[in-house]
Amino acid sequence: MNSTENTSRDKIIFTAQLASISLIWIFVIAIAIWILNLISVSVDLNDAPGISIAISLVAIPVFFTLASILTYVFVGFHKNSKSDLNNTLGD
Protein backbone atom coordinates (compact mmCIF):
# COMPACT_ATOMS: atom_id res chain seq x y z
CA MET A 1 0.00 0.00 0.00
CA ASN A 2 3.00 2.25 0.48
CA SER A 3 4.62 1.91 -2.89
CA THR A 4 2.94 3.60 -5.85
CA GLU A 5 3.24 0.39 -7.81
CA ASN A 6 1.14 -1.40 -5.25
CA THR A 7 -1.63 1.18 -5.29
CA SER A 8 -1.77 1.23 -9.07
CA ARG A 9 -2.11 -2.52 -9.00
CA ASP A 10 -4.90 -2.13 -6.47
CA LYS A 11 -6.61 0.33 -8.77
CA ILE A 12 -6.49 -2.02 -11.71
CA ILE A 13 -7.91 -4.83 -9.63
CA PHE A 14 -10.56 -2.51 -8.26
CA THR A 15 -11.64 -1.47 -11.75
CA ALA A 16 -11.73 -5.12 -12.78
CA GLN A 17 -13.98 -5.84 -9.82
CA LEU A 18 -16.21 -2.92 -10.74
CA ALA A 19 -16.34 -4.26 -14.26
CA SER A 20 -17.41 -7.68 -13.04
CA ILE A 21 -20.17 -6.16 -10.95
CA SER A 22 -21.41 -4.15 -13.88
CA LEU A 23 -21.27 -7.29 -16.01
CA ILE A 24 -23.69 -8.91 -13.63
CA TRP A 25 -25.99 -5.94 -13.92
CA ILE A 26 -25.73 -6.06 -17.69
CA PHE A 27 -26.60 -9.75 -17.54
CA VAL A 28 -29.61 -9.13 -15.32
CA ILE A 29 -30.84 -6.20 -17.37
CA ALA A 30 -30.37 -8.22 -20.54
CA ILE A 31 -32.57 -10.95 -19.09
CA ALA A 32 -35.20 -8.39 -18.16
CA ILE A 33 -35.11 -6.91 -21.66
CA TRP A 34 -35.32 -10.37 -23.15
CA ILE A 35 -38.39 -11.26 -21.08
CA LEU A 36 -40.04 -7.92 -21.86
CA ASN A 37 -39.36 -8.54 -25.54
CA LEU A 38 -41.05 -11.94 -25.26
CA ILE A 39 -44.04 -10.28 -23.62
CA SER A 40 -44.29 -7.74 -26.42
CA VAL A 41 -44.14 -10.56 -28.97
CA SER A 42 -46.85 -12.49 -27.16
CA VAL A 43 -49.04 -9.39 -26.94
CA ASP A 44 -48.43 -8.70 -30.60
CA LEU A 45 -49.45 -12.20 -31.64
CA ASN A 46 -52.12 -12.44 -28.93
CA ASP A 47 -50.40 -15.62 -27.82
CA ALA A 48 -51.07 -16.16 -24.11
CA PRO A 49 -49.81 -12.76 -22.91
CA GLY A 50 -51.22 -13.38 -19.43
CA ILE A 51 -48.93 -16.32 -18.81
CA SER A 52 -45.94 -14.39 -20.09
CA ILE A 53 -46.62 -11.47 -17.78
CA ALA A 54 -47.18 -13.78 -14.81
CA ILE A 55 -43.85 -15.51 -15.36
CA SER A 56 -42.03 -12.24 -15.84
CA LEU A 57 -43.43 -10.96 -12.54
CA VAL A 58 -41.73 -13.84 -10.77
CA ALA A 59 -38.55 -14.08 -12.80
CA ILE A 60 -37.40 -10.49 -13.15
CA PRO A 61 -37.40 -9.62 -9.41
CA VAL A 62 -35.44 -12.79 -8.65
CA PHE A 63 -32.64 -11.77 -10.98
CA PHE A 64 -32.62 -8.23 -9.71
CA THR A 65 -32.47 -9.40 -6.11
CA LEU A 66 -29.48 -11.60 -6.90
CA ALA A 67 -27.62 -8.75 -8.55
CA SER A 68 -28.49 -6.40 -5.69
CA ILE A 69 -27.17 -8.87 -3.13
CA LEU A 70 -23.86 -9.01 -4.95
CA THR A 71 -23.71 -5.25 -5.20
CA TYR A 72 -24.61 -4.91 -1.54
CA VAL A 73 -21.76 -7.21 -0.57
CA PHE A 74 -19.29 -5.41 -2.78
CA VAL A 75 -20.27 -1.94 -1.64
CA GLY A 76 -20.46 -3.11 1.97
CA PHE A 77 -16.93 -4.46 1.87
CA HIS A 78 -15.47 -1.29 0.44
CA LYS A 79 -17.37 1.21 2.48
CA ASN A 80 -15.96 -0.38 5.54
CA SER A 81 -12.40 -0.83 4.42
CA LYS A 82 -12.15 2.93 3.96
CA SER A 83 -13.50 3.77 7.41
CA ASP A 84 -11.26 1.05 8.79
CA LEU A 85 -8.30 2.70 7.16
CA ASN A 86 -9.27 5.99 8.75
CA ASN A 87 -9.62 4.28 12.08
CA THR A 88 -6.20 2.68 11.88
CA LEU A 89 -4.72 5.98 10.74
CA GLY A 90 -6.46 7.75 13.59
CA ASP A 91 -5.06 5.25 16.03
Binding site: V41, T65, I69
Partner: protein
Protein backbone atom coordinates in the same frame (compact mmCIF):
# COMPACT_ATOMS: atom_id res chain seq x y z
CA UNK B 1 -2.72 -11.72 15.91
CA UNK B 2 -0.19 -12.91 13.36
CA UNK B 3 0.87 -15.73 15.60
CA UNK B 4 -2.65 -16.97 15.85
CA UNK B 5 -3.03 -16.79 12.11
CA UNK B 6 0.00 -18.94 11.39
CA UNK B 7 -1.21 -21.35 14.01
CA UNK B 8 -4.59 -21.81 12.39
CA UNK B 9 -3.01 -22.13 8.98
CA UNK B 10 -0.89 -24.90 10.30
CA UNK B 11 -3.94 -26.67 11.61
CA UNK B 12 -5.75 -26.51 8.30
CA UNK B 13 -2.69 -27.07 6.15
CA UNK B 14 -4.28 -30.23 4.75
CA UNK B 15 -6.91 -28.06 3.06
CA UNK B 16 -4.35 -25.81 1.38
CA UNK B 17 -2.02 -28.55 0.27
CA UNK B 18 -3.98 -29.71 -2.83
CA UNK B 19 -3.89 -26.16 -4.17
CA UNK B 20 -0.16 -25.73 -3.93
CA UNK B 21 1.06 -29.24 -4.56
CA UNK B 22 0.36 -30.73 -7.94
CA UNK B 23 1.19 -34.36 -8.37
CA UNK B 24 1.46 -36.53 -11.45
CA UNK B 25 -1.97 -37.95 -10.70
CA UNK B 26 -3.53 -34.58 -11.36
CA UNK B 27 -2.07 -34.22 -14.83
CA UNK B 28 -2.93 -37.81 -15.64
CA UNK B 29 -6.54 -37.36 -14.58
CA UNK B 30 -6.93 -34.09 -16.43
CA UNK B 31 -5.34 -35.61 -19.54
CA UNK B 32 -7.61 -38.63 -19.57
CA UNK B 33 -10.69 -36.49 -18.93
CA UNK B 34 -9.74 -34.06 -21.68
CA UNK B 35 -9.39 -36.94 -24.10
CA UNK B 36 -12.84 -38.24 -23.23
CA UNK B 37 -14.28 -34.73 -23.57
CA UNK B 38 -12.58 -34.20 -26.92
CA UNK B 39 -14.02 -37.45 -28.21
CA UNK B 40 -17.49 -36.42 -27.01
CA UNK B 41 -17.08 -33.03 -28.67
CA UNK B 42 -16.10 -34.76 -31.88
CA UNK B 43 -19.20 -36.95 -31.71
CA UNK B 44 -21.32 -33.86 -31.13
CA UNK B 45 -19.85 -32.04 -34.11
CA UNK B 46 -20.55 -35.14 -36.14
CA UNK B 47 -24.14 -35.09 -34.92
CA UNK B 48 -24.55 -31.45 -35.91
CA UNK B 49 -23.11 -32.20 -39.32
CA UNK B 50 -25.20 -35.27 -40.15
CA UNK B 51 -28.33 -34.49 -38.18
CA UNK B 52 -29.95 -36.20 -35.23
CA UNK B 53 -30.15 -39.39 -37.28
CA UNK B 54 -26.88 -40.48 -35.69
CA UNK B 55 -28.68 -40.92 -32.39
CA UNK B 56 -31.03 -43.76 -31.59
CA UNK B 57 -34.10 -41.57 -31.39
CA UNK B 58 -37.00 -42.11 -33.75
CA UNK B 59 -40.76 -41.81 -34.04
CA UNK B 60 -42.51 -42.17 -31.61
CA UNK B 61 -39.56 -42.18 -29.16
CA UNK B 62 -38.58 -38.61 -30.00
CA UNK B 63 -36.67 -37.98 -26.83
CA UNK B 64 -33.86 -40.16 -25.60
CA UNK B 65 -30.68 -40.02 -23.60
CA UNK B 66 -30.24 -36.28 -23.90
CA UNK B 67 -33.47 -35.47 -22.12
CA UNK B 68 -32.95 -38.31 -19.65
CA UNK B 69 -29.53 -36.92 -18.80
CA UNK B 70 -30.87 -33.39 -18.69
CA UNK B 71 -33.35 -34.33 -16.00
CA UNK B 72 -30.76 -36.49 -14.26
CA UNK B 73 -28.04 -33.84 -14.10
CA UNK B 74 -30.37 -31.09 -13.03
CA UNK B 75 -31.58 -33.51 -10.36
CA UNK B 76 -28.04 -34.06 -9.09
CA UNK B 77 -27.62 -30.31 -8.89
CA UNK B 78 -30.11 -30.19 -6.08
CA UNK B 79 -27.52 -31.77 -3.91
CA UNK B 80 -25.91 -28.97 -3.50
CA UNK B 81 -27.33 -25.71 -2.85
CA UNK B 82 -30.51 -27.08 -1.44
CA UNK B 83 -28.78 -29.35 1.08
CA UNK B 84 -26.29 -26.72 2.08
CA UNK B 85 -29.00 -24.08 2.40
CA UNK B 86 -31.17 -26.33 4.51
CA UNK B 87 -28.27 -27.29 6.75
CA UNK B 88 -27.18 -23.67 7.12
CA UNK B 89 -30.70 -22.55 7.79
CA UNK B 90 -31.22 -25.20 10.46
CA UNK B 91 -27.86 -24.30 12.01
CA UNK B 92 -26.65 -27.87 11.79
CA UNK B 93 -23.10 -27.50 13.01
CA UNK B 94 -21.88 -30.63 11.23
CA UNK B 95 -22.54 -28.89 7.91
CA UNK B 96 -19.29 -26.93 8.04
CA UNK B 97 -17.00 -29.24 6.03
CA UNK B 98 -19.80 -30.26 3.65
CA UNK B 99 -21.45 -27.13 2.30
CA UNK B 100 -18.72 -26.06 -0.11
CA UNK B 101 -18.56 -29.47 -1.79
CA UNK B 102 -22.31 -29.51 -2.21
CA UNK B 103 -22.39 -26.03 -3.72
CA UNK B 104 -19.67 -26.86 -6.21
CA UNK B 105 -21.61 -29.90 -7.39
CA UNK B 106 -24.59 -27.66 -8.04
CA UNK B 107 -22.76 -25.04 -10.04
CA UNK B 108 -20.93 -27.49 -12.29
CA UNK B 109 -23.75 -29.95 -12.83
CA UNK B 110 -26.26 -27.21 -13.56
CA UNK B 111 -24.09 -25.87 -16.34
CA UNK B 112 -23.80 -29.36 -17.80
CA UNK B 113 -27.47 -30.17 -17.39
CA UNK B 114 -28.54 -26.84 -18.82
CA UNK B 115 -26.60 -27.54 -22.00
CA UNK B 116 -28.34 -30.85 -22.63
CA UNK B 117 -31.49 -29.45 -24.24
CA UNK B 118 -29.22 -27.62 -26.69
CA UNK B 119 -27.40 -30.85 -27.50
CA UNK B 120 -30.82 -32.33 -28.10
CA UNK B 121 -31.85 -29.70 -30.65
CA UNK B 122 -32.17 -30.64 -34.28
CA UNK B 123 -31.11 -27.11 -35.26
CA UNK B 124 -28.69 -25.78 -32.66
CA UNK B 125 -27.88 -22.98 -35.10
CA UNK B 126 -31.32 -21.55 -34.46
CA UNK B 127 -31.14 -21.61 -30.69
CA UNK B 128 -31.25 -17.80 -30.69
CA UNK B 129 -34.86 -18.04 -31.86
CA UNK B 130 -35.62 -18.64 -28.19
CA UNK B 131 -34.41 -15.13 -27.45
CA UNK B 132 -35.96 -13.35 -30.40
CA UNK B 133 -39.22 -15.23 -30.64
CA UNK B 134 -39.57 -17.33 -27.51
CA UNK B 135 -42.96 -18.17 -26.06
CA UNK B 136 -43.22 -17.95 -22.32
CA UNK B 137 -46.20 -20.26 -22.52
CA UNK B 138 -43.95 -23.18 -23.34
CA UNK B 139 -42.62 -25.13 -20.35
CA UNK B 140 -39.25 -25.20 -22.11
CA UNK B 141 -39.03 -21.43 -21.63
CA UNK B 142 -39.95 -21.82 -17.98
CA UNK B 143 -36.96 -24.09 -17.81
CA UNK B 144 -34.67 -21.65 -19.51
CA UNK B 145 -35.68 -18.95 -17.04
CA UNK B 146 -35.62 -21.04 -13.89
CA UNK B 147 -32.37 -22.80 -14.70
CA UNK B 148 -30.72 -19.47 -15.47
CA UNK B 149 -32.03 -18.10 -12.18
CA UNK B 150 -30.87 -21.16 -10.28
CA UNK B 151 -27.48 -21.13 -11.95
CA UNK B 152 -26.99 -17.46 -11.10
CA UNK B 153 -28.23 -17.93 -7.56
CA UNK B 154 -26.18 -21.03 -6.88
CA UNK B 155 -23.03 -19.51 -8.34
CA UNK B 156 -23.49 -16.47 -6.15
CA UNK B 157 -24.25 -18.75 -3.23
CA UNK B 158 -21.07 -20.69 -3.93
CA UNK B 159 -19.00 -17.57 -4.40
CA UNK B 160 -19.98 -15.42 -1.44
CA UNK B 161 -19.04 -17.90 1.31
CA UNK B 162 -15.80 -18.45 -0.58
CA UNK B 163 -14.63 -14.84 -0.32
CA UNK B 164 -12.88 -15.15 3.07
CA UNK B 165 -11.09 -18.27 1.88
CA UNK B 166 -10.01 -16.54 -1.31
CA UNK B 167 -8.67 -13.71 0.84
CA UNK B 168 -6.69 -16.27 2.83
CA UNK B 169 -5.17 -17.59 -0.40
CA UNK B 170 -4.41 -14.03 -1.46
CA UNK B 171 -2.65 -13.33 1.83
CA UNK B 172 -0.61 -16.47 1.51
CA UNK B 173 0.96 -15.07 -1.64
CA UNK B 174 2.56 -17.44 -4.09
CA UNK B 175 0.70 -18.42 -7.16
CA UNK B 176 -2.05 -16.32 -8.75
CA UNK B 177 -2.07 -13.62 -6.06
CA UNK B 178 -3.61 -11.14 -8.46
CA UNK B 179 -6.34 -13.55 -9.43
CA UNK B 180 -7.23 -14.14 -5.77
CA UNK B 181 -6.94 -10.43 -5.07
CA UNK B 182 -9.46 -9.76 -7.81
CA UNK B 183 -11.85 -12.40 -6.50
CA UNK B 184 -11.53 -11.54 -2.83
CA UNK B 185 -13.30 -8.20 -3.29
CA UNK B 186 -11.15 -6.46 -0.73
CA UNK B 187 -12.01 -8.77 2.13
CA UNK B 188 -10.06 -7.84 5.25
CA UNK B 189 -12.10 -9.77 7.78
CA UNK B 190 -13.35 -6.69 9.62
CA UNK B 191 -16.45 -7.00 11.75
CA UNK B 192 -18.48 -4.88 9.38
CA UNK B 193 -17.48 -7.02 6.43
CA UNK B 194 -18.39 -10.16 8.36
CA UNK B 195 -21.77 -8.68 9.14
CA UNK B 196 -22.38 -7.77 5.50
CA UNK B 197 -21.32 -11.21 4.31
CA UNK B 198 -23.44 -13.04 6.86
CA UNK B 199 -26.46 -10.98 6.00
CA UNK B 200 -26.01 -11.66 2.30
CA UNK B 201 -25.56 -15.38 2.88
CA UNK B 202 -28.68 -15.42 5.03
CA UNK B 203 -30.78 -13.74 2.36
CA UNK B 204 -29.36 -16.03 -0.31
CA UNK B 205 -29.97 -19.28 1.52
CA UNK B 206 -33.58 -18.37 2.03
CA UNK B 207 -33.87 -17.42 -1.63
CA UNK B 208 -32.08 -20.41 -3.02
CA UNK B 209 -34.46 -22.98 -1.56
CA UNK B 210 -37.61 -21.89 -3.43
CA UNK B 211 -35.60 -21.35 -6.59
CA UNK B 212 -34.19 -24.87 -6.35
CA UNK B 213 -37.61 -26.34 -5.72
CA UNK B 214 -39.04 -24.39 -8.63
CA UNK B 215 -36.33 -25.64 -10.99
CA UNK B 216 -37.11 -29.28 -10.64
CA UNK B 217 -40.82 -28.68 -10.46
CA UNK B 218 -40.61 -26.86 -13.74
CA UNK B 219 -38.60 -29.70 -15.25
CA UNK B 220 -41.30 -32.12 -14.23
CA UNK B 221 -43.79 -29.76 -15.84
CA UNK B 222 -42.13 -30.37 -19.19
CA UNK B 223 -43.60 -33.83 -18.95
CA UNK B 224 -46.70 -33.34 -16.89
CA UNK B 225 -48.02 -30.44 -18.98
CA UNK B 226 -48.49 -32.80 -21.94
CA UNK B 227 -51.41 -35.15 -22.25
CA UNK B 228 -49.25 -38.26 -22.52
CA UNK B 229 -50.12 -41.27 -20.39
CA UNK B 230 -47.59 -41.71 -17.61
CA UNK B 231 -46.64 -38.03 -17.74
CA UNK B 232 -49.86 -36.14 -17.20
CA UNK B 233 -49.80 -36.36 -13.43
CA UNK B 234 -50.02 -33.80 -10.67
CA UNK B 235 -47.61 -35.71 -8.45
CA UNK B 236 -44.75 -35.08 -10.85
CA UNK B 237 -43.64 -31.78 -9.35
CA UNK B 238 -42.93 -32.97 -5.79
CA UNK B 239 -41.91 -36.40 -7.08
CA UNK B 240 -39.15 -34.86 -9.19
CA UNK B 241 -38.00 -32.59 -6.38
CA UNK B 242 -37.77 -35.51 -3.95
CA UNK B 243 -35.94 -37.59 -6.55
CA UNK B 244 -33.60 -34.70 -7.23
CA UNK B 245 -32.66 -34.24 -3.58
CA UNK B 246 -32.31 -37.99 -3.26
CA UNK B 247 -29.85 -38.30 -6.13
CA UNK B 248 -28.17 -35.08 -5.01
CA UNK B 249 -27.35 -36.43 -1.56
CA UNK B 250 -26.04 -39.64 -3.09
CA UNK B 251 -23.80 -37.70 -5.46
CA UNK B 252 -22.60 -35.52 -2.60
CA UNK B 253 -21.70 -38.61 -0.57
CA UNK B 254 -19.74 -40.07 -3.48
CA UNK B 255 -17.83 -36.82 -3.98
CA UNK B 256 -17.13 -36.54 -0.24
CA UNK B 257 -15.82 -40.09 -0.05
CA UNK B 258 -13.68 -39.60 -3.16
CA UNK B 259 -12.07 -36.39 -1.89
CA UNK B 260 -11.63 -37.77 1.59
CA UNK B 261 -9.62 -40.58 0.07
CA UNK B 262 -7.62 -38.55 -2.46
CA UNK B 263 -6.94 -35.45 -0.36
CA UNK B 264 -6.64 -37.36 2.95
CA UNK B 265 -9.35 -35.34 4.66
CA UNK B 266 -10.19 -37.99 7.25
CA UNK B 267 -9.66 -35.36 9.91
CA UNK B 268 -12.40 -33.17 8.47
CA UNK B 269 -14.90 -35.60 7.05
CA UNK B 270 -15.50 -37.98 9.88
CA UNK B 271 -17.69 -41.02 10.00
CA UNK B 272 -20.33 -38.98 11.79
CA UNK B 273 -20.77 -36.69 8.76
CA UNK B 274 -21.39 -39.65 6.53
CA UNK B 275 -23.76 -41.20 8.99
CA UNK B 276 -25.81 -38.04 9.33
CA UNK B 277 -25.98 -37.56 5.59
CA UNK B 278 -26.76 -41.19 4.95
CA UNK B 279 -29.63 -40.96 7.42
CA UNK B 280 -30.95 -38.17 5.23
CA UNK B 281 -30.40 -40.44 2.24
CA UNK B 282 -32.38 -43.18 3.93
CA UNK B 283 -35.26 -40.79 4.62
CA UNK B 284 -35.23 -39.63 1.02
CA UNK B 285 -35.20 -43.24 -0.16
CA UNK B 286 -38.34 -43.96 1.84
CA UNK B 287 -39.94 -40.74 0.61
CA UNK B 288 -39.01 -41.66 -2.94
CA UNK B 289 -40.66 -45.04 -2.53
CA UNK B 290 -43.75 -43.42 -1.10
CA UNK B 291 -44.06 -41.13 -4.12
CA UNK B 292 -43.36 -43.91 -6.60
CA UNK B 293 -45.90 -46.11 -4.88
CA UNK B 294 -48.59 -43.40 -4.97
CA UNK B 295 -47.83 -42.64 -8.59
CA UNK B 296 -48.32 -46.20 -9.75
CA UNK B 297 -51.13 -47.04 -7.38
CA UNK B 298 -53.27 -44.16 -8.62
CA UNK B 299 -52.48 -45.16 -12.20
CA UNK B 300 -53.33 -48.82 -11.67
CA UNK B 301 -56.43 -48.13 -9.58
CA UNK B 302 -57.87 -45.76 -12.17
CA UNK B 303 -56.92 -48.26 -14.88
CA UNK B 304 -57.33 -45.81 -17.74
CA UNK B 305 -56.43 -48.01 -20.74
CA UNK B 306 -53.60 -45.88 -22.13
CA UNK B 307 -52.21 -45.32 -18.66
CA UNK B 308 -52.31 -49.08 -18.09
CA UNK B 309 -50.48 -49.68 -21.38
CA UNK B 310 -47.59 -47.59 -20.15
CA UNK B 311 -47.58 -49.10 -16.64
CA UNK B 312 -47.68 -52.66 -17.97
CA UNK B 313 -44.94 -51.79 -20.41
CA UNK B 314 -42.84 -50.59 -17.51
CA UNK B 315 -43.63 -53.63 -15.37
CA UNK B 316 -43.39 -56.38 -17.96
CA UNK B 317 -42.28 -54.91 -21.29
CA UNK B 318 -38.79 -54.64 -22.73
CA UNK B 319 -37.99 -51.92 -20.20
CA UNK B 320 -39.05 -54.04 -17.21
CA UNK B 321 -35.44 -54.84 -16.36
CA UNK B 322 -34.75 -51.14 -15.94
CA UNK B 323 -37.85 -50.59 -13.90
CA UNK B 324 -37.17 -53.37 -11.44
CA UNK B 325 -33.50 -52.58 -11.11
CA UNK B 326 -34.56 -49.01 -10.38
CA UNK B 327 -36.66 -50.29 -7.48
CA UNK B 328 -33.78 -52.43 -6.23
CA UNK B 329 -31.18 -49.66 -6.57
CA UNK B 330 -33.29 -46.86 -5.20
CA UNK B 331 -35.15 -48.60 -2.45
CA UNK B 332 -34.17 -52.12 -1.50
CA UNK B 333 -30.37 -51.74 -1.46
CA UNK B 334 -30.18 -48.31 0.25
CA UNK B 335 -32.78 -49.24 2.84
CA UNK B 336 -31.01 -52.48 3.72
CA UNK B 337 -27.56 -50.90 3.77
CA UNK B 338 -28.49 -47.77 5.63
CA UNK B 339 -30.84 -49.26 8.20
CA UNK B 340 -28.28 -51.52 9.83
CA UNK B 341 -25.41 -50.10 11.74
CA UNK B 342 -23.31 -53.04 10.59
CA UNK B 343 -23.49 -51.90 6.94
CA UNK B 344 -23.42 -48.22 7.65
CA UNK B 345 -19.69 -47.92 7.13
CA UNK B 346 -18.00 -45.64 4.62
CA UNK B 347 -17.83 -48.52 2.15
CA UNK B 348 -21.44 -49.41 2.66
CA UNK B 349 -22.53 -45.81 2.28
CA UNK B 350 -20.47 -45.48 -0.89
CA UNK B 351 -22.09 -48.59 -2.30
CA UNK B 352 -25.58 -47.37 -1.45
CA UNK B 353 -24.87 -43.94 -2.92
CA UNK B 354 -23.63 -45.39 -6.17
CA UNK B 355 -26.70 -47.58 -6.53
CA UNK B 356 -28.91 -44.59 -5.78
CA UNK B 357 -27.27 -42.46 -8.46
CA UNK B 358 -27.64 -45.27 -11.00
CA UNK B 359 -31.17 -45.94 -9.81
CA UNK B 360 -32.19 -42.32 -10.15
CA UNK B 361 -30.77 -42.25 -13.66
CA UNK B 362 -32.86 -45.34 -14.42
CA UNK B 363 -35.87 -43.57 -12.99
CA UNK B 364 -35.45 -40.71 -15.45
CA UNK B 365 -35.12 -43.29 -18.21
CA UNK B 366 -38.29 -45.00 -17.02
CA UNK B 367 -40.16 -41.74 -17.07
CA UNK B 368 -39.08 -40.50 -20.48
CA UNK B 369 -39.01 -43.53 -22.71
CA UNK B 370 -41.92 -45.89 -21.89
CA UNK B 371 -44.45 -43.05 -22.20
CA UNK B 372 -43.14 -42.08 -25.61
CA UNK B 373 -42.84 -45.68 -26.76
CA UNK B 374 -46.54 -46.26 -26.16
CA UNK B 375 -48.45 -43.71 -28.18
CA UNK B 376 -52.16 -43.38 -27.65
CA UNK B 377 -52.96 -44.12 -31.27
CA UNK B 378 -52.91 -47.74 -32.41
CA UNK B 379 -49.48 -47.60 -33.98
CA UNK B 380 -47.70 -50.33 -32.05
CA UNK B 381 -45.01 -49.54 -29.55
CA UNK B 382 -41.71 -47.92 -30.42
CA UNK B 383 -38.26 -48.99 -29.40
CA UNK B 384 -35.21 -47.00 -28.47
CA UNK B 385 -31.57 -48.05 -28.52
CA UNK B 386 -29.08 -45.32 -27.69
CA UNK B 387 -26.31 -45.01 -30.23
CA UNK B 388 -22.60 -44.58 -29.69
CA UNK B 389 -23.03 -40.83 -30.05
CA UNK B 390 -25.43 -40.66 -27.15
CA UNK B 391 -23.30 -42.90 -24.95
CA UNK B 392 -20.17 -40.90 -25.64
CA UNK B 393 -21.90 -37.62 -24.93
CA UNK B 394 -23.17 -39.09 -21.67
CA UNK B 395 -19.70 -40.20 -20.67
CA UNK B 396 -18.38 -36.85 -21.88
CA UNK B 397 -20.82 -34.99 -19.66
CA UNK B 398 -19.68 -37.00 -16.64
CA UNK B 399 -16.08 -36.29 -17.61
CA UNK B 400 -16.82 -32.57 -17.78
CA UNK B 401 -18.26 -32.79 -14.28
CA UNK B 402 -15.21 -34.59 -12.88
CA UNK B 403 -12.85 -32.24 -14.68
CA UNK B 404 -14.72 -29.21 -13.41
CA UNK B 405 -14.51 -30.54 -9.89
CA UNK B 406 -10.84 -31.42 -10.14
CA UNK B 407 -9.99 -27.98 -11.53
CA UNK B 408 -12.03 -26.26 -8.86
CA UNK B 409 -10.18 -28.15 -6.17
CA UNK B 410 -6.93 -27.01 -7.77
CA UNK B 411 -7.76 -23.34 -7.31
CA UNK B 412 -9.95 -23.20 -4.24
CA UNK B 413 -10.12 -25.09 -0.96
CA UNK B 414 -12.74 -27.79 -1.20
CA UNK B 415 -13.70 -27.32 2.43
CA UNK B 416 -14.64 -23.93 3.76
CA UNK B 417 -11.66 -23.02 5.93
CA UNK B 418 -13.09 -19.94 7.58
CA UNK B 419 -16.29 -21.73 8.48
CA UNK B 420 -14.27 -24.50 10.14
CA UNK B 421 -12.35 -21.84 12.01
CA UNK B 422 -15.53 -20.12 12.99
CA UNK B 423 -16.82 -23.47 14.20
CA UNK B 424 -13.77 -23.98 16.35
CA UNK B 425 -13.70 -20.47 17.73
CA UNK B 426 -17.28 -19.48 18.21
CA UNK B 427 -19.89 -22.07 17.62
CA UNK B 428 -19.09 -24.33 20.55
CA UNK B 429 -19.95 -21.49 22.87
CA UNK B 430 -22.84 -20.45 20.70
CA UNK B 431 -24.29 -23.94 20.57
CA UNK B 432 -23.99 -24.23 24.31
CA UNK B 433 -25.86 -20.98 24.66
CA UNK B 434 -28.43 -22.04 22.09
CA UNK B 435 -29.07 -25.41 23.67
CA UNK B 436 -29.39 -23.75 27.05
CA UNK B 437 -32.03 -21.47 25.61
CA UNK B 438 -34.02 -24.51 24.43
CA UNK B 439 -34.02 -26.08 27.83
CA UNK B 440 -36.53 -25.15 30.43
CA UNK B 441 -35.08 -22.65 32.86
CA UNK B 442 -35.24 -22.91 36.59
CA UNK B 443 -38.86 -23.28 37.58
CA UNK B 444 -40.37 -19.92 38.31
CA UNK B 445 -41.76 -20.01 41.73
CA UNK B 446 -44.91 -18.12 42.32
CA UNK B 447 -44.43 -15.32 44.82
Amino acid sequence: MTEEKTKTIDIDEALYRPIYETGRGFYLTVGILLMIILFAAFMYVRQVYYGLGVTGMNQPVTWGFYIVNFVFFIGISHAGTLISAILRLSKAEWRRPITRMAEVITAIVLAIGGLHPIIDLGRPDRVLNIFTAGRLQSPLLWDVTSITAYFTASTVYLYLPMIPDIAKLRDRGGKLTRFYDFLSWGWQGTDHQKKVLNRAINILMVMVIPIAVSVHTVISYIFSMTLQPGWHSTIFGPYFVVGAIFSGIAALLIVMIAFRKVFHLENYLKLIHFQYLSTLLLIMSLLWFYFTFSEYLTGIFGAEPHEMDVILYKFTGPYAIFFWSMVVFNFIIPVIVLSFKKFKTIKGILFASITVVIGMWLERLNIVIPSLANPRMELGSGMYFPSLTEWSLFVGAIAVFVLGYVLFSKFFPIISIWEIEEGREESIKEVEKRVKSYLPGPAETSD
